[in-house]
Amino acid sequence: MSETREVPLHAVAHARAGDKGNRSNISLIPYDAALYPLLAAQVTEARVLALFAHRGATRCTRYDLPELQAFNFVIDDVLEGGVNGSLNLDGHGKTQSFRLLSLTVTIPA
């Protein structure tokens, strides 16, 4: 059995967050395309939804773009009202991409 190690997504991928109302979308893009299947298996909708549970997120949908080697996560009700109603300094949720990048994945050592 080969060796593995646990790393934050930030070590192997990059991301960008955008908003529409109370919904956030966060892209996730591996630096190395060879990691695309591994991220597809480990960065599931359920794990991402759980990451944003403290903010009341109700649903997470992952769109896979294999040609682009990228994922798009759409997370509902995560922006505490969005720029319309949020008391958060970052009502647009632009910083949330780095919450996603703090999630850990297990990669070959």
């Binding site: 930030h10 990059h14 991301a15 960008r16 955008g18 908003d19 529409k20 109302g21 109370n22 919904r23 979308n25 892209s27 893009i29 630096y31 403290h54 903010r55 009341g56 769109y63 773009l65 040609e67 682009l68 080697q69 990228a70 798009n72 759409v74 505490e80 009202g81 969005g82 720029v83 319309n84 109603g85 008391l87 958060n88 300094l89 970052d90 632009k94 910083t95 949330q96 780095f98 919450r99």
Partner: protein, 458 residues
């Protein structure tokens, strides 16, 4: 034959010197070209409408003169039309400003188009329209309407270019329309050629946020480094009649265009990648791929387009509640305990005074932007002692005075607070609430008026 589209600004508040190297690059390359500016966020038009109420000659992009002055003469002489939604809530006044600027620069024959029709506040009854995007916080029965604007498409912008406009001043348009229009005008693409319009929409989508595709919002020191981030070059697209699309930037600038910047911006603010709805075409990037052709040059392949929707999006803005914010700092030994105590006392004070506001406390430096309204992250924080913490209270409510009083509780902590509390700031701001509707496009007639600078203000 290649046509170049340059972007000179991606939001109201962008770097005002950004257009200069873009125009210099377009001129040096000598190909037919256009420049566009996207300066209108979802709320910007409502804030501009409030500005216009105060002064009928205001209500457009406040940096407009600063943005255009260094490039206007060059663009006019090189026949590079400039398009922008910088007219905001008052395109005619913005056009007069451009005309005065043109006269001052010795360009009396510069032709300026005013595109109208997006402002539907007086013409469409919103309560009879299907709601597109909303949240439960808006009671539109009692809220006072500030602005209602339709996201119009590229057709009136093309008409303005056809009439010879050197500067096209619009209010609310779809962002991609600002790039689609000069392409349709130059190549003579049909408004039913969905594959070509998809290329135009992707071009607009990639360029509309300016530096976000050339290294802005991207750089992450040590992980995603970019050259000279103080001087990021804004993007230029190379588009061919057949629908080829390449993104690049001026050579003498910082920033970077590579597969990573392109992928991040392609997916920015997208939900279903197969259905990115614009007034002119539904863009589908689900099968697209990207190719690095050289330094700072990336081609986008495999874009698809589907027929445009029958409806346009109308975003209405309402006067909302009040937002009060206050901040103080603590630092040095035991800062975290003092910050936590300050947070608890602030919330207790709001309760004691029965101010009836919704409130939240952040411990900036421990957890704030990633936290929730109940402070789940900072309350559960077990990490190392932070060297400094800034405590922020945010309160919202319908009653201005109560919200103001809530924010001032932070100020009072200067004397009543923990040892070594300092650096208080507080402010009160009105909130703008938005709600989006769908309206049949034929209910939004547009208009185009073109005049020379001399005719407009001479």
């Amino acid at each position: 034959m290649t046509f170049l589209v340059g972007n000179g600004g991606g939001f109201s508040g962008d770097r005002v010197d950004a257009p200069i190297p873009v125009v210099r690059s377009l001129m040096a390359r000598g190909l037919p070209a256009a420049m566009f500016f996207e300066t209108l966020g979802e709320r910007t038009v409502a804030l501009a409408q409030l500005e216009r109420r105060r002064d009928p000659e205001l209500g457009y992009e406040p940096m407009l003169e600063r943005l255009l002055e260094p490039i206007l003469a060059d663009c006019f002489r090189a026949r590079i039309p400039i398009l922008g939604n910088f007219g905001a809530a008052n395109p005619p006044a913005a056009a007069r400003l451009v005309a005065r600027l043109a006269l001052r620069l010795g360009l009396p024959d510069l032709k300026i188009a005013v595109v109208g029709g997006d402002d539907v506040m007086g013409s469409i009854a919103l309560d009879q329209l299907p709601v597109h995007e909303a949240d439960g916080s808006i009671d539109t029965k009692s809220a006072r309407l500030v602005a209602a604007n339709a996201y119009i498409g590229a057709e009136p912008l093309v008409e303005a270019l056809r009439l010879g406009a050197d500067v096209v001043v619009a209010g609310r348009t779809s962002d991609p329309a600002l790039a689609i229009a000069p392409l349709v005008h130059h190549f003579g693409w049909s408004f039913e050629d969905w594959e070509k319009l998809a290329v135009g929409a992707a071009c607009g989508h990639l360029l509309e946020c300016g530096s976000q595709v050339t290294g802005g919002v991207f750089w992450d020191p040590g992980f995603k480094d970019i050259p000279d981030p103080a001087n990021i070059g804004f993007p230029i697209a190379e588009v061919t009649a057949e629908g080829g699309l390449i993104i690049t930037k001026p050579e003498d600038t910082g920033g970077i265009v590579d597969l990573r910047t392109i992928k991040e911006q392609l997916l920015y603010e997208l939900h279903d990648p197969a259905h990115y709805i614009t007034p002119d075409v539904v863009l589908d990037i689900s099968g697209c791929h990207v190719e690095q052709l050289g330094k700072d040059r990336v081609a986008i392949h495999g874009l698809r387009g589907h027929p445009r929707p029958e409806t346009l999006k109308v975003t209405a803005s309402f006067e909302g509640s009040w937002l009060g914010e206050g901040e103080v700092s603590v630092a040095g030994p035991n800062a975290l305990a003092r910050a936590r105590a300050t947070a608890d006392v602030l919330l207790r004070r709001l309760e004691m005074r029965q101010l009836g506001v919704r409130a939240r406390v952040d411990l900036i430096g421990v957890a704030s932007v990633l936290d929730s309204d109940d402070g789940a992250l900072w309350r559960g924080y077990e990490g190392p002692e932070p060297p400094e913490v800034r405590i922020r209270l945010a309160a919202e409510g319908a009653d201005r005075d109560n919200v103001d009083q809530a924010a001032r509780e932070v100020l009072a902590m200067l004397c009543c607070g923990t040892a070594g509390t300092g650096g208080a700031r507080w402010r009160l701001t009105p909130r703008i609430l938005t709600r989006s509707y769908l309206v049949l496009r034929e209910r939004v007639p547009t208009s185009v008026m073109v005049r020379s600078a001399r005719e407009m203000v001479g």
